[in-house]
Symmetry: C2
Subunit: 247 residues, 2 copies
DNA sequence: GCACCGCTTCCGTTGAATGGGACGCTCCCA
DNA sequence: TGGGAGCGTCCCATTCAACGGAAGCGGTGC
């Protein structure tokens, strides 16, 4: 901007401001927001007021700032995941009712699985896969199911990430995981997230057999009915794929 | 901005850009986006690129623009409705299963009910209450349930809206609706949205008996078990309120 | 081959964005 | 009770980032 700036644009600043809100919640003091976003207090104050004028933020008197309803509305009525969510919800509900387990839906974003929707079982084991949460590909069954069914090119780019620290060992391990996942048709991760749970996920494939999403469940470690879970998930995943194709 | 501008700030422009996406979907041509947002093509192009650099938009080559995953993520992990949604989901699922009807959750924003969550029954009648959709207070059972349990001050400000065109007639009609809703403890609207449906909604009340949300169902017109629906909704609403209070 | 249309890049102009400084408030501790 | 710390808010001269018209480029249809 004008005047000796840190070299970033207004857009940068706005993104920094929006990103500054911590994962869990909601209300933040103006001064803290300024510090978190690395902006001078004055600048943060002005931007917050401007954003609040549009309802993208909600600035309570006293400098208490929280995300605005209008921002939520704008994003959620045009979200890139809207069609996916609509197609998937009925099947996720079926899974939830029939298997009585936590169900989640994820897409691939960078090298993470981004969880788009989640239904949790009552009295369930903890499910870390929060909505809008992320998990690295190789530490989540959802991530593995997604990555295992991608372009060769993307996969090798992904695997290159692991080459840095330790040569090829880590790379080979992940490659093996992906290969198993691909050939089995589902990903299974035992106790990575939470030592007492299994994660199981299947890909939702498009017409070219690329994973556009993953459908998964998180079940207690003692649960032994894996054989029953996988076909149910795969059936649901096909149903989702069909509805996506229709639209 | 710099140079003879239309008098709006960068923030204004960004909001115009984000708001320009039509309700239904997702991909928009750059030129069309520019026109919808009322920005010069060049400006729209530059802003889109900047926003795309941060993942807030997704600019495909050829000028095809869609909302970005990162924006969705940012908003949905810090959303003002997050706690509400988490508290409400289990109860909404219960309602959906027990009553086998469409369920929706709304909050008041301005003079509209803003629908925050929705579960739809399989093979159900059409439910216009889309997620992130809006309906005016007086044309939705959710809106009535919300407005009937607000400050006197807010209510009278709301009612003043109707004074303009036709004197007091419309105002009195709405006032009556609100009063009925308040004393009954639930709102009921027959065939306003869709001639073949009922809308029924109850408020989720905080400790001061103010509605922070509404819980509603949309049922086919022939459905006669109103007496069974209302207590179930009220019970669920109390459950939601209790979980909100705990947190 | 020409004309059209849309995305992209370039570049001189300029006023909007910037942020240090000052003010006023409240709260807390001496 | 008085002083000081911490906070949000307002002011305003400086200046560089944002602006957008114009030209370039690639594709498509006549």
């Amino acid at each position: 901007m004008a005047n000796s700036a840190s070299g970033d644009s207004v857009v940068d600043r706005i993104v920094r401001l929006l990103s500054a809100f911590p994962e869990d919640v909601s209300a933040l003091q103006l001064s803290e927001l300024a510090e978190r976003s690395g902006l001078p207090l004055t600048t943060a104050h002005r931007l917050v007021r401007q954003l609040a004028d549009h309802g993208l933020l909600d600035a309570a008197p006293g400098g208490l700032v929280r995300p605005g309803l209008r921002l939520w509305e704008l994003v959620n009525r045009t979200a890139p995941t809207l069609a996916l969510r609509q197609a998937a919800m009925p099947f996720m509900e079926d899974i939830q009712q029939v298997l009585n387990q936590n169900v989640n839906l994820a897409v691939l974003d960078g090298w993470d699985a981004l969880f788009v929707e989640r239904l949790s079982r009552r009295g369930s084991v903890a499910n870390r896969a929060r909505v809008a949460g992320r998990m690295p590909v190789h530490t989540s069954s959802a991530g593995l199911a997604l990555m295992a069914h991608q372009d060769r090119l993307l996969q090798s780019q992904y695997l290159d990430q692991f080459a840095d620290p330790d040569g090829k060992v880590a790379t080979d391990a992940v490659r093996l995981l992906l290969s198993e996942t691909f050939h089995q048709g589902f990903a299974q991760l035992k106790g990575v997230v939470d030592p007492d749970t299994w994660g199981i996920a299947v890909p939702v494939l498009d017409a070219r057999q690329r994973a556009v999403a993953s459908l998964g469940v998180v079940v207690p470690l003692r649960e032994m009915r894996l054989q029953a879970l996988v076909p149910a998930l795969q059936t649901a995943a096909r149903g989702i794929a069909r509805r996506l194709g229709d639209a």
